[in-house]
């Protein structure tokens, strides 16, 4: 399988917490999860893919690439300051789509929290400092799926 199963771990964590926090603590944790409220500062501040993976998903590394995640990006970006990116998947139950640029000073670029009313199909435009892999990650039902594409950048879009 090209995925990482997180559900077992969260279940374990959940039961541990249940004993330590009691019911009210659990309810609070659940509501936090649903709201997805705060801007994930630590993930955006992470300077390597490993930092970001740890902050976002508590994982060591990016999962293997899945055929089910479609990442659209140009082969060559003449201008690194505007690189169009689209991420789409037919995997059901997607709750989050994350876009990362491996070689940028801060790889974490954008994250989309999707409600049940949102299709797993998002597009945006990003800045790339140099030629790099662009990585899209899709979170669905506690599993993470990834796609990767190398984009050649002729003129970087981050320096000054």
């Amino acid at each position: 399988m090209d995925t990482i199963n997180k559900s077992r771990r969260s279940l374990l964590k959940g039961s541990l917490l249940a004993t330590t926090l009691g019911i009210s603590g659990i309810v609070e944790l659940l509501t936090m999860g649903q709201a997805h409220a705060a801007w994930p500062k630590a993930a955006f501040d992470g300077e390597s893919m490993a930092d970001v993976m740890k902050e976002l998903f508590n994982e060591e590394s990016v999962p293997n690439v899945s055929d089910e995640v479609h990442l659209k990006a140009p082969d060559i970006a003449e201008n690194g300051s505007v690189v169009p990116i689209s991420v789409e998947t037919s995997i059901p139950g997607v709750t989050r789509i994350v876009i990362l640029v491996e070689e940028n000073p801060s790889p974490m670029t954008a994250s989309f929290d999707l409600s049940q009313n949102a299709a797993a199909n998002v597009s945006t435009r990003i800045k790339m400092g140099s030629t790099s892999n662009v990585i899209a990650m899709v979170e669905a039902e506690g599993k993470i799926y990834a796609a990767r594409k190398n984009v050649k950048v002729t003129i970087g879009g981050c320096g000054g």
């Binding site: 801060s106 974490m108 954008a110 981050c158 000054g160």
Partner: protein
């Protein structure tokens, strides 16, 4: 200071929402003519809602392009419904707009 240009269009079962936000999206890495660092100033969060119900919440870092563009697809909203799109940035500035599904 800034605005949001948005369009929402029924496409089969889904509604495509496109939004263009006016914002400098400063990375904090650029320098001005005197060599002083220009502080980071970027949108952190964009929300697309229907009524009171959030449909999508996007979090941005510094590497989203200047004048950010997003395209999303929603199910549920119908032709004639109004969607709300808003953003907040690192200085606490906000902008919002309503868009009617066509």
């Amino acid at each position: 200071m800034a605005g949001i240009k948005a369009k929402a269009k029924q496409k089969g079962d889904l509604v495509q929402v496109k939004a263009l936000m006016k914002h400098p999206m400063e990375t904090g890495q650029r320098k001005d003519k005197e060599g002083n660092k220009i502080p980071a100033h970027h949108i952190t969060e964009v929300t697309v809602s229907a009524g009171d119900k959030p449909m999508v919440t996007a979090h941005f870092g510094t590497a989203v392009s200047k004048n950010p563009y997003i395209s999303l697809y929603l199910s549920g909203p119908q032709k004639g419904d109004t969607l709300q799109i808003s953003w907040i940035d690192t200085s606490g500035e906000t902008a919002s707009t309503d868009v009617v599904v066509k």
